[in-house]
Protein backbone atom coordinates (compact mmCIF):
# COMPACT_ATOMS: atom_id res chain seq x y z
CA UNK A 1 0.00 0.00 0.00
CA UNK A 2 2.71 2.62 0.86
CA UNK A 3 4.38 1.98 -2.49
CA UNK A 4 1.11 2.87 -4.22
CA UNK A 5 0.78 6.10 -2.25
CA UNK A 6 4.34 7.06 -3.13
CA UNK A 7 3.61 6.23 -6.73
CA UNK A 8 0.59 8.53 -6.79
CA UNK A 9 2.37 11.42 -5.07
CA UNK A 10 5.30 11.00 -7.43
CA UNK A 11 3.11 11.00 -10.54
CA UNK A 12 0.90 13.89 -9.47
CA UNK A 13 3.35 16.24 -7.75
CA UNK A 14 6.99 15.33 -8.08
CA UNK A 15 7.21 14.27 -11.72
CA UNK A 16 4.04 16.02 -12.87
CA UNK A 17 3.74 15.20 -16.51
CA UNK A 18 3.12 18.67 -17.75
CA UNK A 19 5.11 20.83 -15.41
CA UNK A 20 8.29 18.93 -14.84
CA UNK A 21 8.52 16.40 -17.66
CA UNK A 22 7.28 18.76 -20.39
CA UNK A 23 4.90 16.25 -21.88
CA UNK A 24 1.40 17.06 -23.10
CA UNK A 25 1.91 20.81 -23.47
CA UNK A 26 -0.12 21.26 -26.69
CA UNK A 27 -3.52 20.40 -25.19
CA UNK A 28 -2.37 21.99 -21.91
CA UNK A 29 -2.09 25.34 -23.68
CA UNK A 30 -4.83 24.80 -26.21
CA UNK A 31 -7.76 23.53 -24.22
CA UNK A 32 -7.32 25.44 -20.99
CA UNK A 33 -9.46 28.38 -21.99
CA UNK A 34 -12.39 27.40 -19.81
CA UNK A 35 -12.42 25.18 -16.73
CA UNK A 36 -15.26 22.94 -17.90
CA UNK A 37 -13.59 22.06 -21.21
CA UNK A 38 -10.35 21.62 -19.29
CA UNK A 39 -12.11 19.23 -16.95
CA UNK A 40 -13.62 17.36 -19.90
CA UNK A 41 -10.18 17.12 -21.48
CA UNK A 42 -8.69 16.00 -18.16
CA UNK A 43 -11.17 13.14 -17.79
CA UNK A 44 -10.61 12.06 -21.40
CA UNK A 45 -6.84 12.00 -20.76
CA UNK A 46 -7.25 10.11 -17.45
CA UNK A 47 -9.42 7.51 -19.16
CA UNK A 48 -7.04 7.11 -22.08
CA UNK A 49 -3.96 6.97 -19.84
CA UNK A 50 -5.51 4.38 -17.58
CA UNK A 51 -6.67 2.09 -20.38
CA UNK A 52 -3.50 2.69 -22.41
CA UNK A 53 -1.31 1.75 -19.45
CA UNK A 54 -3.02 -1.59 -19.07
CA UNK A 55 -3.05 -2.44 -22.78
CA UNK A 56 0.52 -1.30 -23.40
CA UNK A 57 1.68 -3.29 -20.35
CA UNK A 58 0.22 -6.46 -21.82
CA UNK A 59 1.51 -5.51 -25.29
CA UNK A 60 4.99 -5.00 -23.93
CA UNK A 61 5.01 -8.50 -22.46
CA UNK A 62 4.25 -9.81 -25.95
CA UNK A 63 6.93 -7.65 -27.55
CA UNK A 64 9.58 -8.64 -25.01
CA UNK A 65 8.62 -12.29 -25.41
CA UNK A 66 8.96 -11.94 -29.18
CA UNK A 67 12.18 -10.04 -28.70
CA UNK A 68 11.20 -7.16 -30.98
CA UNK A 69 11.87 -4.20 -28.76
CA UNK A 70 12.16 -1.74 -31.64
CA UNK A 71 8.45 -2.08 -32.39
CA UNK A 72 7.55 -0.76 -28.97
CA UNK A 73 7.05 2.90 -29.91
CA UNK A 74 5.02 2.21 -33.02
CA UNK A 75 2.85 -0.45 -31.39
CA UNK A 76 2.15 1.75 -28.38
CA UNK A 77 1.25 4.79 -30.41
CA UNK A 78 -0.99 2.75 -32.71
CA UNK A 79 -2.90 1.45 -29.69
CA UNK A 80 -3.22 4.94 -28.26
CA UNK A 81 -4.37 6.41 -31.57
CA UNK A 82 -7.10 3.79 -31.92
CA UNK A 83 -8.15 4.37 -28.31
CA UNK A 84 -8.48 8.07 -28.99
CA UNK A 85 -10.55 7.34 -32.06
CA UNK A 86 -12.92 5.28 -29.91
CA UNK A 87 -13.05 8.02 -27.26
CA UNK A 88 -13.84 10.53 -30.01
CA UNK A 89 -16.75 8.38 -31.22
CA UNK A 90 -18.12 7.99 -27.70
CA UNK A 91 -17.74 11.67 -26.80
CA UNK A 92 -19.37 12.68 -30.10
CA UNK A 93 -22.29 10.38 -29.34
CA UNK A 94 -22.87 10.99 -25.68
CA UNK A 95 -21.89 14.64 -25.10
CA UNK A 96 -21.90 16.72 -28.29
CA UNK A 97 -21.26 19.91 -26.28
CA UNK A 98 -17.99 18.57 -24.92
CA UNK A 99 -17.17 17.30 -28.42
CA UNK A 100 -17.61 20.73 -30.00
CA UNK A 101 -15.64 22.31 -27.17
CA UNK A 102 -12.72 19.88 -27.49
CA UNK A 103 -13.07 19.77 -31.26
CA UNK A 104 -9.69 19.95 -32.91
CA UNK A 105 -7.82 19.14 -29.73
CA UNK A 106 -9.28 15.64 -29.34
CA UNK A 107 -7.08 14.13 -32.09
CA UNK A 108 -4.18 16.08 -30.67
CA UNK A 109 -4.37 13.98 -27.54
CA UNK A 110 -3.16 11.13 -29.73
CA UNK A 111 0.17 12.74 -30.33
CA UNK A 112 -0.03 13.82 -26.75
CA UNK A 113 3.39 13.05 -25.49
CA UNK A 114 1.97 12.52 -22.02
CA UNK A 115 -0.05 9.46 -23.00
CA UNK A 116 2.80 7.83 -24.88
CA UNK A 117 5.19 9.04 -22.17
CA UNK A 118 3.18 7.24 -19.49
CA UNK A 119 3.02 4.11 -21.59
CA UNK A 120 6.78 4.00 -22.17
CA UNK A 121 7.63 5.12 -18.64
CA UNK A 122 5.49 2.36 -17.17
CA UNK A 123 7.51 -0.11 -19.14
CA UNK A 124 11.01 1.27 -18.74
CA UNK A 125 11.33 3.14 -15.45
CA UNK A 126 8.62 1.57 -13.37
CA UNK A 127 9.31 -1.91 -14.77
CA UNK A 128 6.89 -3.37 -12.24
CA UNK A 129 5.80 -6.93 -12.54
CA UNK A 130 2.29 -5.95 -11.52
CA UNK A 131 -0.13 -4.48 -14.04
CA UNK A 132 -2.04 -2.78 -11.21
CA UNK A 133 0.92 -0.49 -10.47
CA UNK A 134 1.19 0.66 -14.07
CA UNK A 135 -2.58 1.27 -14.16
CA UNK A 136 -2.36 3.34 -10.99
CA UNK A 137 0.62 5.22 -12.35
CA UNK A 138 -1.30 5.93 -15.58
CA UNK A 139 -4.34 7.21 -13.75
CA UNK A 140 -2.23 9.24 -11.31
CA UNK A 141 -0.36 10.88 -14.19
CA UNK A 142 -3.73 11.67 -15.76
CA UNK A 143 -4.85 13.24 -12.49
CA UNK A 144 -1.59 15.23 -12.37
CA UNK A 145 -2.29 16.43 -15.91
CA UNK A 146 -5.86 17.38 -14.99
CA UNK A 147 -4.76 19.29 -11.90
CA UNK A 148 -2.20 21.26 -13.88
CA UNK A 149 -4.68 22.05 -16.66
CA UNK A 150 -7.39 23.03 -14.16
CA UNK A 151 -5.07 25.43 -12.35
CA UNK A 152 -4.12 27.04 -15.63
CA UNK A 153 -7.74 27.18 -16.81
CA UNK A 154 -8.75 28.89 -13.58
CA UNK A 155 -6.01 31.47 -14.01
CA UNK A 156 -6.83 32.00 -17.67
CA UNK A 157 -10.46 32.70 -16.86
CA UNK A 158 -9.34 35.37 -14.42
CA UNK A 159 -7.02 36.74 -17.07
CA UNK A 160 -9.90 37.22 -19.50
CA UNK A 161 -11.08 40.16 -17.42
CA UNK A 162 -7.64 41.36 -16.40
CA UNK A 163 -6.02 44.29 -18.18
CA UNK A 164 -3.21 42.66 -20.19
CA UNK A 165 -0.85 44.60 -22.46
CA UNK A 166 -1.81 44.31 -26.10
CA UNK A 167 1.14 42.17 -27.18
CA UNK A 168 0.79 39.72 -24.30
CA UNK A 169 -2.79 38.74 -25.03
CA UNK A 170 -3.36 35.10 -25.95
CA UNK A 171 -0.55 32.56 -25.67
CA UNK A 172 2.29 34.69 -24.25
CA UNK A 173 0.38 35.51 -21.05
CA UNK A 174 -0.70 31.87 -20.76
CA UNK A 175 2.91 30.74 -21.04
CA UNK A 176 4.01 33.20 -18.38
CA UNK A 177 1.27 31.90 -16.08
CA UNK A 178 2.35 28.32 -16.83
CA UNK A 179 5.91 29.29 -16.00
CA UNK A 180 4.84 30.52 -12.55
CA UNK A 181 2.87 27.33 -11.92
CA UNK A 182 5.91 25.29 -12.98
CA UNK A 183 8.00 27.25 -10.50
CA UNK A 184 5.51 26.44 -7.75
CA UNK A 185 5.55 22.74 -8.70
CA UNK A 186 9.34 22.75 -8.72
CA UNK A 187 9.08 22.90 -4.93
CA UNK A 188 7.93 19.29 -4.94
CA UNK A 189 11.03 18.05 -6.71
CA UNK A 190 12.71 17.67 -3.31
CA UNK A 191 10.70 14.71 -2.11
CA UNK A 192 11.91 11.79 -4.19
CA UNK A 193 11.28 8.16 -3.22
Amino acid sequence: MPYVMLLIINAVFVNNFVLSRFLGICPFLGVSRKTDTALGMGFAVIFVMGVASVITYALNLALVAAGIEYLRTIAFILVIACLIQLVEIFVKKFSPSLYSALGVYLPLITTNCAVLGVAIMNVTELATTNVLYSFINGVASGVGFTIAILILAGIREKMEVADIPERFKGFPITLTAASLIAMAFAAFSGLTF
Partner: protein, 240 residues
Protein backbone atom coordinates in the same frame (compact mmCIF):
# COMPACT_ATOMS: atom_id res chain seq x y z
CA UNK B 1 -8.08 24.36 -60.10
CA UNK B 2 -4.63 24.58 -61.64
CA UNK B 3 -1.95 25.34 -59.06
CA UNK B 4 0.46 27.85 -60.59
CA UNK B 5 4.05 27.92 -59.50
CA UNK B 6 3.47 30.60 -56.89
CA UNK B 7 0.85 28.47 -55.13
CA UNK B 8 3.06 25.40 -54.86
CA UNK B 9 5.93 27.39 -53.32
CA UNK B 10 3.70 29.55 -51.16
CA UNK B 11 3.52 27.05 -48.26
CA UNK B 12 7.31 26.98 -48.13
CA UNK B 13 7.68 30.71 -47.54
CA UNK B 14 4.60 31.08 -45.37
CA UNK B 15 5.65 28.13 -43.22
CA UNK B 16 8.81 29.83 -42.07
CA UNK B 17 7.56 33.25 -41.05
CA UNK B 18 3.85 33.76 -41.53
CA UNK B 19 2.58 30.63 -39.80
CA UNK B 20 5.73 29.58 -37.99
CA UNK B 21 4.92 26.39 -36.13
CA UNK B 22 6.31 27.39 -32.76
CA UNK B 23 5.33 31.03 -32.49
CA UNK B 24 2.23 31.33 -34.63
CA UNK B 25 0.49 27.95 -34.73
CA UNK B 26 1.78 27.02 -31.23
CA UNK B 27 2.34 23.40 -32.19
CA UNK B 28 5.07 20.97 -31.20
CA UNK B 29 5.49 22.72 -27.88
CA UNK B 30 6.45 19.52 -26.03
CA UNK B 31 9.82 19.01 -27.73
CA UNK B 32 10.26 22.77 -28.05
CA UNK B 33 10.43 23.19 -24.28
CA UNK B 34 12.06 19.85 -23.52
CA UNK B 35 14.93 20.07 -25.98
CA UNK B 36 15.92 23.71 -26.18
CA UNK B 37 18.22 23.55 -23.18
CA UNK B 38 21.00 24.16 -25.71
CA UNK B 39 21.08 25.78 -29.13
CA UNK B 40 22.77 22.78 -30.76
CA UNK B 41 20.08 20.43 -29.46
CA UNK B 42 17.43 22.70 -30.90
CA UNK B 43 19.20 22.66 -34.25
CA UNK B 44 19.55 18.87 -34.31
CA UNK B 45 15.93 18.37 -33.21
CA UNK B 46 14.71 20.80 -35.85
CA UNK B 47 16.64 19.12 -38.65
CA UNK B 48 15.55 15.63 -37.61
CA UNK B 49 11.94 16.78 -37.38
CA UNK B 50 12.14 18.50 -40.76
CA UNK B 51 13.34 15.33 -42.43
CA UNK B 52 10.66 13.13 -40.91
CA UNK B 53 8.01 15.83 -41.53
CA UNK B 54 8.84 16.11 -45.24
CA UNK B 55 8.79 12.34 -45.77
CA UNK B 56 5.58 11.76 -43.82
CA UNK B 57 3.86 14.71 -45.53
CA UNK B 58 4.82 13.25 -48.89
CA UNK B 59 3.50 9.78 -48.13
CA UNK B 60 0.32 11.01 -46.49
CA UNK B 61 -0.51 13.29 -49.40
CA UNK B 62 0.00 10.32 -51.74
CA UNK B 63 -2.34 8.15 -49.67
CA UNK B 64 -4.89 10.87 -48.99
CA UNK B 65 -7.53 9.46 -51.31
CA UNK B 66 -7.20 5.92 -49.95
CA UNK B 67 -7.35 6.52 -46.21
CA UNK B 68 -10.98 6.68 -45.03
CA UNK B 69 -11.94 9.63 -42.79
CA UNK B 70 -12.84 7.53 -39.76
CA UNK B 71 -9.46 5.91 -39.38
CA UNK B 72 -7.31 8.76 -40.60
CA UNK B 73 -5.53 9.48 -37.30
CA UNK B 74 -4.24 5.95 -36.63
CA UNK B 75 -3.16 5.69 -40.27
CA UNK B 76 -1.23 9.00 -40.19
CA UNK B 77 0.33 8.07 -36.87
CA UNK B 78 1.46 4.75 -38.33
CA UNK B 79 3.19 6.49 -41.22
CA UNK B 80 4.87 9.03 -38.95
CA UNK B 81 6.01 6.45 -36.41
CA UNK B 82 7.36 4.19 -39.16
CA UNK B 83 9.44 7.00 -40.60
CA UNK B 84 10.93 8.13 -37.35
CA UNK B 85 11.75 4.54 -36.34
CA UNK B 86 13.42 3.96 -39.71
CA UNK B 87 15.46 7.16 -39.30
CA UNK B 88 16.52 6.02 -35.84
CA UNK B 89 17.54 2.55 -37.02
CA UNK B 90 19.46 3.78 -40.05
CA UNK B 91 21.24 6.40 -38.01
CA UNK B 92 22.08 3.93 -35.23
CA UNK B 93 23.84 1.67 -37.72
CA UNK B 94 25.46 3.99 -40.21
CA UNK B 95 26.03 7.26 -38.30
CA UNK B 96 26.84 6.08 -34.75
CA UNK B 97 28.46 9.32 -33.53
CA UNK B 98 25.59 11.49 -34.81
CA UNK B 99 23.19 8.96 -33.28
CA UNK B 100 24.94 9.33 -29.97
CA UNK B 101 24.06 13.03 -29.97
CA UNK B 102 20.64 12.93 -31.60
CA UNK B 103 19.37 9.52 -30.54
CA UNK B 104 17.17 10.91 -27.82
CA UNK B 105 15.53 13.46 -30.11
CA UNK B 106 14.53 10.99 -32.80
CA UNK B 107 12.42 9.09 -30.28
CA UNK B 108 10.80 12.40 -29.32
CA UNK B 109 9.74 13.12 -32.89
CA UNK B 110 6.93 10.62 -32.90
CA UNK B 111 5.09 12.51 -30.20
CA UNK B 112 5.62 15.86 -31.91
CA UNK B 113 2.19 17.40 -32.57
CA UNK B 114 3.41 19.25 -35.65
CA UNK B 115 3.61 16.11 -37.73
CA UNK B 116 0.04 15.04 -37.12
CA UNK B 117 -1.27 18.61 -37.23
CA UNK B 118 0.32 19.27 -40.62
CA UNK B 119 -0.77 15.85 -41.85
CA UNK B 120 -4.33 16.51 -40.81
CA UNK B 121 -4.66 20.15 -41.87
CA UNK B 122 -2.50 20.33 -44.97
CA UNK B 123 -0.96 17.28 -46.55
CA UNK B 124 -4.13 15.19 -46.39
CA UNK B 125 -5.89 17.79 -48.54
CA UNK B 126 -3.21 18.82 -51.04
CA UNK B 127 -1.21 17.08 -53.78
CA UNK B 128 2.36 15.91 -53.34
CA UNK B 129 4.51 18.93 -54.18
CA UNK B 130 2.74 21.56 -52.02
CA UNK B 131 2.71 19.10 -49.12
CA UNK B 132 6.45 18.57 -49.42
CA UNK B 133 6.93 22.32 -49.65
CA UNK B 134 4.76 22.81 -46.61
CA UNK B 135 6.71 20.15 -44.71
CA UNK B 136 9.96 21.86 -45.62
CA UNK B 137 8.68 25.32 -44.76
CA UNK B 138 7.19 24.35 -41.41
CA UNK B 139 10.26 22.24 -40.61
CA UNK B 140 12.70 25.05 -41.34
CA UNK B 141 10.54 27.50 -39.40
CA UNK B 142 10.52 25.03 -36.50
CA UNK B 143 14.31 24.62 -36.68
CA UNK B 144 14.82 28.37 -36.71
CA UNK B 145 12.61 29.04 -33.72
CA UNK B 146 14.02 26.05 -31.80
CA UNK B 147 17.59 27.21 -32.33
CA UNK B 148 16.60 30.73 -31.31
CA UNK B 149 14.98 29.48 -28.10
CA UNK B 150 17.92 27.18 -27.42
CA UNK B 151 20.30 30.08 -27.88
CA UNK B 152 18.54 32.29 -25.36
CA UNK B 153 18.05 29.55 -22.76
CA UNK B 154 21.61 28.32 -23.11
CA UNK B 155 23.11 31.79 -22.93
CA UNK B 156 21.27 32.81 -19.78
CA UNK B 157 21.00 29.37 -18.24
CA UNK B 158 24.35 27.75 -18.86
CA UNK B 159 26.35 30.83 -19.83
CA UNK B 160 27.50 29.28 -23.08
CA UNK B 161 26.97 30.01 -26.74
CA UNK B 162 26.51 26.98 -28.97
CA UNK B 163 28.50 24.98 -26.45
CA UNK B 164 31.44 27.36 -26.03
CA UNK B 165 31.37 28.86 -22.57
CA UNK B 166 31.10 32.62 -22.48
CA UNK B 167 33.47 34.22 -19.96
CA UNK B 168 31.54 37.04 -18.37
CA UNK B 169 28.35 34.99 -18.06
CA UNK B 170 29.92 32.39 -15.78
CA UNK B 171 28.95 34.01 -12.50
CA UNK B 172 25.69 35.42 -13.88
CA UNK B 173 24.18 32.17 -15.15
CA UNK B 174 20.77 31.24 -13.73
CA UNK B 175 19.92 27.58 -14.08
CA UNK B 176 16.23 28.49 -13.81
CA UNK B 177 16.35 29.10 -17.56
CA UNK B 178 17.24 25.45 -18.11
CA UNK B 179 14.49 24.24 -15.80
CA UNK B 180 10.88 23.90 -16.98
CA UNK B 181 9.78 27.17 -15.37
CA UNK B 182 12.38 29.11 -17.33
CA UNK B 183 11.42 27.24 -20.47
CA UNK B 184 7.82 28.45 -20.32
CA UNK B 185 8.87 31.99 -19.56
CA UNK B 186 11.42 32.28 -22.36
CA UNK B 187 8.93 30.74 -24.80
CA UNK B 188 6.27 33.30 -23.79
CA UNK B 189 8.57 36.29 -24.01
CA UNK B 190 10.06 35.18 -27.32
CA UNK B 191 6.54 34.84 -28.68
CA UNK B 192 5.79 38.43 -27.69
CA UNK B 193 8.99 39.59 -29.37
CA UNK B 194 8.19 37.56 -32.48
CA UNK B 195 4.68 38.89 -32.77
CA UNK B 196 5.96 42.43 -32.24
CA UNK B 197 8.56 42.27 -35.00
CA UNK B 198 6.70 40.13 -37.53
CA UNK B 199 3.35 41.76 -36.79
CA UNK B 200 4.63 45.25 -37.56
CA UNK B 201 6.38 44.00 -40.69
CA UNK B 202 3.24 42.37 -42.01
CA UNK B 203 1.13 45.45 -41.30
CA UNK B 204 3.56 47.61 -43.31
CA UNK B 205 3.51 45.15 -46.23
CA UNK B 206 -0.29 44.95 -46.12
CA UNK B 207 -0.65 48.74 -46.05
CA UNK B 208 1.88 49.11 -48.87
CA UNK B 209 0.02 46.59 -51.03
CA UNK B 210 -3.29 48.30 -50.36
CA UNK B 211 -1.71 51.70 -51.04
CA UNK B 212 -0.31 50.53 -54.41
CA UNK B 213 -3.71 49.12 -55.35
CA UNK B 214 -5.59 52.24 -54.28
CA UNK B 215 -3.32 54.54 -56.28
CA UNK B 216 -4.67 52.71 -59.34
CA UNK B 217 -8.33 53.10 -58.52
CA UNK B 218 -8.40 56.71 -57.46
CA UNK B 219 -6.48 59.06 -59.83
CA UNK B 220 -6.95 62.14 -57.64
CA UNK B 221 -5.57 60.34 -54.60
CA UNK B 222 -2.61 59.16 -56.67
CA UNK B 223 -1.75 62.74 -57.59
CA UNK B 224 -2.00 63.83 -53.97
CA UNK B 225 0.26 60.91 -53.06
CA UNK B 226 2.89 61.98 -55.62
CA UNK B 227 2.71 65.58 -54.39
CA UNK B 228 3.21 64.32 -50.86
CA UNK B 229 6.21 62.21 -51.90
CA UNK B 230 7.75 65.17 -53.81
CA UNK B 231 7.26 67.50 -50.81
CA UNK B 232 8.85 64.98 -48.49
CA UNK B 233 11.72 64.41 -50.91
CA UNK B 234 12.20 68.17 -51.22
CA UNK B 235 12.16 68.46 -47.43
CA UNK B 236 14.90 65.85 -46.89
CA UNK B 237 17.19 66.97 -49.69
CA UNK B 238 15.95 64.23 -52.05
CA UNK B 239 18.03 61.14 -52.70
CA UNK B 240 19.46 60.52 -56.14
Amino acid sequence: MKRNIRDTFEPLTSGVIKNNATFRLVLGTCPTLAVTTAALNGLYMGLATTFVLVCSNAIISLLRKIIPRKVRIPAYILVIATFSTIVEMVMRKFLPDLYEVMGLFIALIVVNCILLARAESFSSLNPLLPSVMDGLGIGLGFTMSLTLLGLVREFFGAGSFFGLTVGFMQNLKMTVFILPAGGFMVYGLMMVLYNLVVGELEKKIEAYKNRKYIALTNPLLAEQEEAEQARRRGLFGGNK
